[in-house]
């Protein structure tokens, strides 16, 4: 469990993290979402005691990180910044970390095997690909078999297979009752992995909610209605007369806004139109998120940021 209370970080007169209060619970994958520069990494660094909060507190299992007796056995972390010396071998890097927290040597080979790096164990970290480097970071996070995992942009640099692997891994860790907290600006990825969502923009909390609930609440609420081609035009007229806004959907059928799905069904029965499909459409997390953070994207206008926001 991770608990932040009024967590704040100021750099001069710039507030990077602004009175954040949230709780990350065990047994779930919690996504930490925000545009680049929103304060995700700074928040994670404060959880790990690397940066000191300007005010407020953050604890892991009710304790400040620097008060944990054996931090790597309680919290596994992967930060965005590479924290491996290129000249050191993969195994030596993990071995040092294991020794620092009295973690048995056998764990080193176990995690190397688990992330699929056994074959490059004796290679220097310099020669690893971006994806392998990321796997090494995940190996380091798993080394102490920790209850809490904090991962900053873990899918960065992973290929499709790697992304699928980490998604399954994170879910399995959460199912075992661990606390899994991962940040990402890839909303599509979050939608598939996370159970809960903490959204921040400009250092402020925008949402702290269940993933499904979040999508339902923020959804525009349109419905896809499909009928036989011969009845399509009649259906459109009925829907418009009932006060709906009707557009042609790219996949065929009508996209209806302004009338709930139940009413559409009843309308069709009343007029004896055979409905082939009636699907409530929720906005994707990506659409919602883009709308939500539009105001809080700090460096809007720069093409690079736009690109990162909409992957």
């Amino acid at each position: 469990m991770i608990e932040a209370r009024e967590l704040t970080k100021r750099y001069g007169d710039k507030t990077a993290v602004d009175r954040l209060t949230f709780t990350v619970r065990p047994g779930l994958v919690t996504g930490f979402l925000g545009p680049n520069g929103a304060g995700k990494s700074t928040t994670m660094r404060m959880i790990l005691g690397l940066d000191a909060p300007s005010s407020g507190t953050v604890t892991v299992n009710k304790r400040r990180y620097d008060r944990l007796a054996a931090p790597l056995r309680e919290v596994g972390s992967l930060l965005d910044a590479k924290s491996v010396h290129g000249g050191r071998s993969v195994r030596q890097h993990l071995l040092g970390l294991a020794r620092s927290n009295a973690i048995p040597r056998s764990q080193v080979d176990a995690v190397l095997d688990r992330v699929g790096l056994s074959e490059v164990a004796n290679q220097r970290a310099k020669g690893l690909s971006l994806g392998m480097g990321q796997r090494l970071g995940i190996a380091a996070a798993l080394l102490g078999d920790p209850e809490v995992l904090i991962l900053d942009e873990p899918v960065n640099g992973l290929d499709t297979e790697g992304i699928r692997w980490i998604r399954a891994l994170l879910k399995s860790l959460a199912v075992q009752g661990r606390t899994v907290f991962l940040s990402s600006h890839l909303m599509s990825e979050m939608e598939l992995t996370a159970d809960r969502l903490i959204v921040i923009g400009r250092g402020r909390l925008l949402a702290d909610t269940d993933m499904r609930e979040f999508i339902e609440t923020h959804s525009q609420g349109t419905t896809l209605v499909r009928t036989a081609d011969s009845e399509a035009e009649r259906m459109r007229q009925l829907l418009e007369r009932a006060g709906g806004t009707v557009r042609l959907d790219a996949r065929g059928g009508w996209r209806v806004a302004g009338i709930p799905p139940a009413t559409i069904g009843e309308l069709a029965r009343e007029h004896h139109v055979a409905v082939h499909e009636l699907t409530p459409l929720f906005s994707s997390l990506e659409e919602i998120y883009t709308t939500m953070t539009r105001t809080s994207v700090e460096y809007r206008g720069s093409t690079q940021d736009t690109k990162e926001l909409i992957p």
Binding site: G49, Y65, L72
Partner: protein
Amino acid sequence: MSTLTAPPPGFREALAFEWTKFASLRSTRWTTAAVGLVTMAGAVFVGLSGSLQADDTVLGGSLTLSVVSLMISGVVGALTICGEYASGTVTSTFAAVPRRGRVLATKAVLLAGLLFGLSLASCTVAYLLGSAILEDGRYARGEPMPAVLGIAGLFAVVGVLGLAIGVLVRHSAGAVTTVIAVMLLPSLFGPLFGGAQRWIAGATPTAALEKLTQTSDASPDAVGSLGAWPSLALVAAYTVVLLALAVRRLRRRDA
């Protein structure tokens, strides 16, 4: 929930961590080896070339290049922390050992122990090489004991001094430059300060080394009248002060 139930780690584990990091890098291994090799090579060179002043001692002559080794020791000290900043490993180090005072203490203990042992061995070998090669009876022998223990102690102190400077300066190039400046500049520019020269040049690690090795360069005119051991104590004293400042900085600064 962690299935690992070993007792909580302490200083020993942190020290083992530092040792693993130190020993697993080619760069630190070679730089450290250079500390020993340069001193011994110097003894052979001086012995074979006979390039000793008439009033020099066998001990001082054999350890001519120990001043270079001493500088490298300071550089090794600086690099043990600056290397971590440069590669970004400092974040994983602090995540593993969040007590930063302990991180610095283990680095200091490791450097001091390693440099003490290494320089004690290499200086002893250098002296034996020097006495074997140099013509018997032509130079005063000098008194190797307990001077060589002091010399080894000085190497340990300078390693820690480099570490403290590394923490305070943070960037490798800046830290290495500072370490070398501390060692060299006072003797180079000392004469500019007239009467104060003895104090300025005399307070450097280099001056303490010259006095301990009993070389003819260690004249009171150049490096002051402070004896060898008090000089060593002085260097140790300001190293302790700098180390305390470094601990403070490390605790307060964001990693």
